[in-house]
Amino acid sequence: MKPIIFSAESLKKEFNRRVIFDSVSFTLHEGGVFAVTGRNGSGKSTLVKILCGLLSPTKGAIRVTIEGKEVNMDVLFRRIGFIAPYLNMYEEFSGIENLTLFGKIRGLSKPPLEQNNFVGDAEELLRRFNIFDRRHDEVRTYSSGMKQRLKFAAALLHRPEILMMDEPTSNLDEEGIATVRSVIAEQRKHGILIIATNEKDDVKYADTVLNLDERKTRKSSS
């Protein structure tokens, strides 16, 4: 397991001069699972968006250190996989096209092969999330659950050290939820996992829970 440190330093976010949250600080090490909970509108999504670099905080900073080297915020996206309802796939492309596209833009094909040697991984992921049979269909024809599965495949394609999920089990059936559980179990073996959720079942996997309604971190007793 690589030594990873993910730390948030006194994060603050304001929208229209209204404070969404203030002085959110925590540090995670490899194998850590962190859960963010809170009512609708408490700022869960805003917080995870800041943690993955989609939003900039009003104050504070994110620091990620992998194997003793601090990761530049510009390339943090290479270390992060993110699954969220507002992260859409390209509907006019098929499932496998989406994954191939992401792999190419991320620069996953390694020389000297110069071939898209990540396509095997992509197909493997599609099988795992049980959408392999529909991989050549356009995403616009997918059901919302299938789209959610594809998002998982897209987020795991580059084997990220840090995985973030915003409401991961929404739109998923029993079997899909089971797959998500296996992803969670695997991620805590070799990385960091951050979940924003209100599902009690998801929260119980977390070592640390941040309840944005209470605005403080507590260590889970287990």
Partner: protein, 236 residues
């Protein structure tokens, strides 16, 4: 500009400028220190230079100030800089309209029509368009932080493209203003002043006065905007 003395001083300064600019007589052969020479073809209309040019100048100062505050906002993410940026832009718009109207009125009497698409008229028209676009953009964004960022970026882009007019204009049209292509004194962005020393003095006094007036108004506008914000959103 906080102290009362400075404000009273500025009021007196501008009063003197206005007094001199309007009332000093124009004679064919000036002898006394307060007499302006008559410029053939302009006569009394030459007095526009004491008001119109400083207004146009202040427009440019406000535009630059707004862009600089925009850059500072992007660097610090401090919304107070955005407030200053928008205050400067508001004042700039006002001075821009005033300069356009005074120039246009004068053009009617000297060049025969209100608008001639002379290079400098075109430039001030473009500045008006930029200010208009700036405020149109601001009203189309809801989140204050995003609005501040986008309008700052826009004013910077406008700031780097406007100087192109200096190179574009002289190639395209002959101007009527001094310092344009076809002007016997030679073309160039900088006008060669050939004014009588006492006119030059009043002109620069007016330029300084208008600039200081702008900073005073800017100060008032920023403080009143801050108060407005404060009263809208009482601190918890």
């Amino acid at each position: 500009m906080k102290s009362t003395t400075a404000k009273i001083g500025l009021v007196i300064w501008l009063t003197l400028v206005i007094f001199a600019a309007i009332l000093f007589p124009m004679v064919p052969a000036p002898e006394k220190w307060y007499e302006f020479p008559i410029i053939p073809g302009l006569e009394e209309k030459a007095r526009i230079i004491f008001f119109h040019v400083p207004m146009a100048w202040t427009t440019v100062v406000a535009f630059i100030a707004s862009t600089i505050y925009g850059i500072r906002f992007l660097m610090t993410k401090n919304l107070d800089y955005d407030l200053r940026s928008v205050s400067a832009a508001g004042l700039g718009t006002m001075f821009c309209i005033l300069a356009t109207i005074t120039g246009s009125l004068w053009a009617k009497f000297n060049w025969g029509s209100f608008w001639n698409w002379d290079p400098r008229e075109t430039s001030i028209f473009v500045l008006l368009l930029i200010y208009g676009a700036y405020f149109a953009l601001r009203s189309a964004v809801d989140v204050e932080e995003k609005r501040a960022t986008l309008s700052a970026v826009y004013s910077i882009i406008a700031g780097v493209t406007v100087p192109f007019f200096i190179f574009v204009m002289p190639r395209i049209m002959t101007g009527l203003h001094p310092g344009s292509k076809g002007d016997p004194q030679g073309a160039g962005p900088v006008v060669q002043f050939k004014m009588a020393p006492n006119m030059l003095l009043v002109f620069f006094a007016s330029l300084i006065g208008f600039t200081l007036l702008y900073f005073w108004m800017f100060d008032i506008k920023v403080r009143s905007s801050r108060l407005e914000l404060h009263s809208q959103q009482p601190q918890e």
